[in-house]
Structure formats: C-alpha cells, structure tokens
C-alpha cells in the first residue's frame, strides 16, 4: 500500500512538471514581446530593455525555464500587467469564491444526480427513465453561458425572485474575511442576513455549474445500478424478503457508489474549468472571471497561473480518488 501511495504521488508530481512545461511553452510562443507588454504601452526602448534584463528575458531559453520552475516552486506566479500585483496573491484572493461555488454545485450534483440515477435504474426503460435520459443529454448539450442567461432572464428579470449577478447585494458589506467564502464567513460571524443574501446570489450560478456534472453522475450511477441490481446477492436479498427499497438504497447503492465516486473526483476538475464561462455570465469574482478578463487584456501571466492552479486541483482530486479507490475496494487492496 505504501509503495502504491508513493508511486501515485510521484506520478502526480511528474504530471505537474509536464503541465509546467506546457504553460512555459505556451507563454513563449506568444507573438507579442513579453518585455514590451510588462513595460507598458508608453515605455521607451531603454525601459523595455531594462525590463527584459530584470525579468531575465535576455537569457537563453533553458535558463529562463529553470528560473520559471524555481519561481513557481516558491509560489511566485509572476506579476499581472493590469493590476501590477503578484498573480499568486490574486489567485489566493479569487480562489475561495470559485471554491465556494464549485462546492455548492458539487453538492447539488450529488444530491440530485445519485437519487435520479438510482430511480432511473429501478424504472429502467419506463417513461421515467426516458425522461431522465433526455434530462441527462441536455446536461451535456446545454451551453453553460446560454443556460445562465436564460435562467437570469427567467428568475431574475421576469420573476424577480433571485439576483442577477455578483456575490452580494451592492448595499451589503462582505462578512469579515476568514475563509473568504461568504457563505462560511457569514455563518462564522452569525450574520444570517448576509448568509441569505450570499446564498440567493449563489443559487443560479451553482445550478448552471452543476448541470453537466449532475448529468454525468446520473449516467454513471444509473449504469452501475442497472448492473448491480441483476447481481446474485441482490437476488438472494430479495429471496430473503428484504424490503425492495432497502435493497435498492442500501445493498445496491453502496456497491454502485465506487464508480460514481470516481466520476465526482473527475468532475471537480472539469467544474473548475467551467467556471471560466459561468463566472463570466454571473460576474462572480473567482479565478474563472480573473482568467477571462486577463486573457482579453492580453495579460497572460494570470491566465497561466489559473491554468496551473486548476491543473493542480484536478491532479490532486484524481490522486485522492485513486487512493480512496484502493482503500475502499477490498479487491484492489488485496491485489497489492
């Protein structure tokens, strides 16, 4: 088991290094001169040359790479040209907002996706199953940005039930920052009004973000449940007179949960990626919106920072799932 864990961790490190190679290459194929960008539009040629020397951009490419990697190792992602602040600081500032949204959406995806998948396996090939299938395919096909706009139109503009965008009402001050997740912080401060406000703002973006995830959790759970429900031990349990719903919800569901768990881990990383669209629609000040606004401004240090941060999260999620898998599935444990 220890060998397995060490192996997985080393492999994750290697993949992270690979991703760093990609972001370095992408930054260096840019047709624009990074020194000129960093010096600003009004810089004289001398100023650009100073910046070039200062950033080590006059050095050979491999030396630049070594510098890039060692900077990253110290948590230095470079500086944003637009805000002139360190990208690392800004990432730390924006990430909690994104994480809050992703956690909420993931909760929604699991709470709705697992029961729907279970029920649709029980009612296989009946009208309910077909209805759920249409719903699941829609989850993949609906453009997140358009779905968001339609929800804003319906629930914010027409029905006036929920706010359109942002994290809080303009009039209400943010709660004292502890985790920078407004839902958690307002609870910690015991401020129910802010909590309700933050929650109302999070509902629509969380729904949009969770939809594709919900759909794939549903599909995996349904496929697994269909298979498990025909297993011998289910037939045996039924023959022993265990109540039908207990069989489905306890015996079958537990055994169908492993692949669903893997899907949840995979989806966490994908969701972080989709925040690029969802945060843009809802003006949610997280890393997705940060990446988009930086990309439009041609400021690509922050974009690479976000790419690396999302990649790191994705890899860690996969690692955790792999290890959990090894731990939860007795057959894998025995195989090692």
């Amino acid at each position: 088991m220890i060998v397995y864990v060490v192996q997985r961790v080393l492999l994750t490190g290697l993949m992270l290094f690979g991703l760093i190679c990609i972001t370095f290459t992408v930054s260096n194929v840019a047709p624009s001169d990074p020194a000129a960008l960093a010096a600003g539009p009004d810089a004289t040629r001398d100023m650009v040359e100073t910046v070039r020397r200062e950033y080590g951009l006059d050095k050979p490419i491999w030396e630049q790479f070594v510098r890039y990697v060692s900077d990253l190792a110290r948590g230095d992602f470079g500086r944003s040209i637009v805000s002139t602040r360190a990208v690392g600081t800004e990432l730390a500032q924006y990430f909690p907002a994104t994480f809050e949204l992703v956690a909420l959406a993931m909760g929604l995806g699991v709470l709705v996706g697992v029961p729907l998948g279970m029920l649709s396996a029980v009612y296989k090939n009946r009208p309910f199953d077909h209805l759920v299938r249409v719903f699941a395919v829609s989850g993949v096909a609906l453009p997140a940005f358009w779905f968001g706009l339609v929800l804003q139109l319906t629930f914010a503009a027409q029905l006036e039930l929920l706010p359109t965008s942002g994290r809080l009402d303009i009039a209400s001050p943010p709660p004292p920052p502890v985790t920078r997740m407004f839902l958690v912080d307002s609870l910690l401060a015991g401020d129910w009004q802010t909590f309700a406000d933050a929650f109302a703002h999070a509902i629509l973006p969380a729904i949009v973000l969770s939809f594709p995830c919900l759909a794939s959790i549903l599909r995996v759970n349904r496929a697994e449940m269909v298979e498990v429900l025909s297993a011998d031990y289910i037939v045996a349990a039924r023959a022993h007179g265990v109540s039908p719903w207990r069989i489905v919800a306890v015996h079958a569901l537990r055994n169908a949960m492993l692949p669903t768990l893997a899907m949840i881990g995979l989806r966490y990383g994908w969701m972080l990626g989709s925040t690029v669209l969802v945060e843009t629609v809802f003006d949610w000040p997280g890393i997705g919106l940060y990446a988009v606004s930086s990309a439009i401004a041609g400021d690509f240090k922050p974009v690479m920072g976000v790419t690396l941060l999302i990649g790191l999260n994705f890899m860690i999620a996969n690692l955790v799932v792999d290890l959990l898998y090894g731990w939860l599935d007795p057959r894998l444990r025995a195989a090692q």
């Binding site: 290697l14 993949m15 690979g18 991703l19 190679c21 990609i22 972001t23 992408v26 930054s27 194929v29 840019a30 047709p31 624009s32 299938r133 249409v134 395919v137 829609s138 993949v140 096909a141 609906l142 453009p143 997140a144 940005f145 358009w146 706009l149 339609v150 804003q152 139109l153 914010a156 503009a157 027409q158 599909r219 349904r222 496929a223 269909v226 990383g269 994908w270 972080l272 990626g273 989709s274 690029v276 669209l277 843009t280 629609v281 990446a291 988009v292 930086s294 990309a295 439009i296 041609g298 690509f300 974009v303 690479m304 976000v306 790419t307 999302i310 990649g311 994705f314 890899m315 996969n318």
Partner: protein, 303 residues
C-alpha cells in the same frame, strides 16, 4: 437491352454482397427503432442542410456579414424578422442560419485535426507497448490533466483572439482524447489471433497497423467523432462568448451571444436564438452519436 444488362449486373452485385446488405438493413432497422437516434439524425441533417444552402435561402443575405440599418435596430420577433433584429438592424434569423456554416467548418476542422494526430499515436501506443506507450500516454495524461477549455483559453490568450487561433487551440487540446480511446482498443486487438496470424505470415508492421488494427478501431473513433462534432462546436462558441473566438460582426453563435449579453434582459431574443441553435446542434450530434454506438458498438452501451 442495355437496361437488361444493367439489371443483371445489379442483381449480381446484390447477390455477391448479400451479407453486407443484410448487415446494412439491420443497422438501419436498429437505428430507426430508437426515437432519440432519429431525433439526432433529423437535427444533424437539418444542420448540414442549413450549412450547405443557408446563405442561399435566408431572407436578408446582406445582413450576414453585418450591414447597417439603424432604423430597424433591436426589433422583436415578427413575421418579417422571425428571430428579431440586432443592434445594427440586421435580421437575426439570417445571421443565425449563416453562422451554421461557420460552426460546421470549425467542428470539422477540430475533429479532423485531432483525430489525425490522436489516432496514429493511440495505435502506436497500444500496439507497440513498452516505452513507446509509456511516453505517449504520459504526455497524453498531462494534456488531459487540465480541462480543455482552460488550456485552450491559455493558448488563445498567448496567440491572440480570433477564430483561427481558437481552432488551433481547441485542436491542440482535443487530440489526447483520441489517443486514450484508440490506445485501449489497439491494446486489446494486439493479442487477437488474426493479428498473430498476420505477424507470423511475415506481414510488415505498417501493414498490420493499417490493415488489421486500424479498421477494427474505427467504430469507437466514428462514435467519438460524431459526439465531438457537437462538443467542438460548443467549445468554439464558448471561446466566442468569452470574446476570444470569432470577432463580431462575423456571424458566429458564441460571438453573437457575447454581444447580445449587454442587451439583456430587455432585448432577450438577441441572445436567445443563437444559443438555442447551439443547444440543438450539440444535442443532435450527441443523440446521433449515441445511436451510432447502439449499432456499431452495442456491447459498450452505457444505458
């Protein structure tokens, strides 16, 4: 008398290929039996029709590339303008239909480039195994370790906005999926007895790969390519929406929604119809791919 010879030829052809015809009839029957596959087929056919003939049948062809008709701006849907008009007074129905061709082109290029890179690499990794496989799969894993849209965003940020750069970026992030898919298939084919037989008869490596391995990998590739058409169109539209893909006034669904966003909620139709077309297109290719899976690869049916 000529016709008689032809019918004779046709009859012989049918006889010689009876098995293939039977197989084909079975495919058509299986496909047509499933309502969702047929919906997919209808949508895909309509999409291809609009892409081919759209520019010829639209009511206001001049509006396609962005004319100016300010007296007519932001009109709601009506008999004259089915989808309403945009901020320049252009007919939205015209622009949405003409954009179909852009999407088809974007989807096709991405899928073709991605499969041309990914499929040979996947076959090589799966068939040769060993160090070749390790290197190819590690590189693939690195590309798959970050969501495609984010990496594409990073690449477009470096290359500069534009539809061509969007296509380049999406192709770069799209090929690893094909490597994954084909590698697994080629790995399982490697031990098949007909491959073994070809090898022992002294067939060259290239011949084995091209004649024995590749054709047997085709079903999953076709299924994935069909689904990817929709997803590639969706991703390109996403880049357009962010403001890094096609540049308005070029007719592209995502870019149209990007502009239309600022006119929400009062002028809702401007964003609504392009988005509906994206949704239907992606849905159509998805259902169509699902239908293809049912006939080409029935064992892997995921429900």
């Amino acid at each position: 008398m000529n016709t008689r010879a032809e019918t004779g030829g046709l009859a012989r052809f049918r006889e010689e290929h009876a098995a293939a015809f039977r197989q084909l009839r079975f495919y058509v029957w299986t496909f047509a039996r499933s309502p969702s596959s047929m919906i997919g087929l209808v949508i895909v056919a309509a999409f291809l029709f609009l892409a081919a003939f759209g520019p010829m049948i639209v009511p206001y062809p001049d509006d396609a590339t962005g004319a100016m008709n300010l007296s007519n701006r932001l009109k709601p849907p009506s008999a004259a303008h089915w989808f309403g008009t945009d901020e320049m007074g252009n007919d939205l129905f015209t622009r949405v239909v003409v954009a179909t061709r852009t999407s088809l082109y974007v989807g096709l290029v991405i899928v073709i480039v991605a499969s041309t890179i990914g499929v040979p690499l996947g076959i090589a990794a799966g068939y040769f195994g060993g160090r070749t496989r390790m290197i190819i799969m590690r590189v693939t894993d690195v590309f798959l370790s970050v969501p495609g849209l984010v990496l594409a965003l990073a690449i477009v940020a470096a290359l500069g906005a534009g539809i061509l750069n969007g296509i380049i970026a999406l192709s770069i992030v799209w090929w690893p999926g094909y490597v994954r898919l084909v590698e697994a298939k080629a790995l399982s084919l490697r031990g098949e007895s007909y491959v073994e037989a070809a090898r022992s008869l002294g067939a060259s490596q290239f011949r084995i790969l091209a004649v024995h391995i590749f054709p047997n990998c085709l079903s999953p590739i076709i299924i994935k390519a069909s689904m990817d058409m929709g997803l590639a169109i969706l991703s390109a539209a996403s880049l357009g929406f962010i403001g890094l893909g096609a540049r308005p006034p070029a007719p592209e669904w995502g870019a149209m929604i990007s502009v239309a966003r600022t006119y929400m909620p009062t002028w809702w139709w401007y964003a609504f119809f392009p988005g509906l077309f994206i949704y239907l297109t992606v849905l159509g290719f998805n259902l169509f791919g699902d239908g293809l899976r049912d006939i080409l690869d029935p064992k892997s049916n995921q429900g």
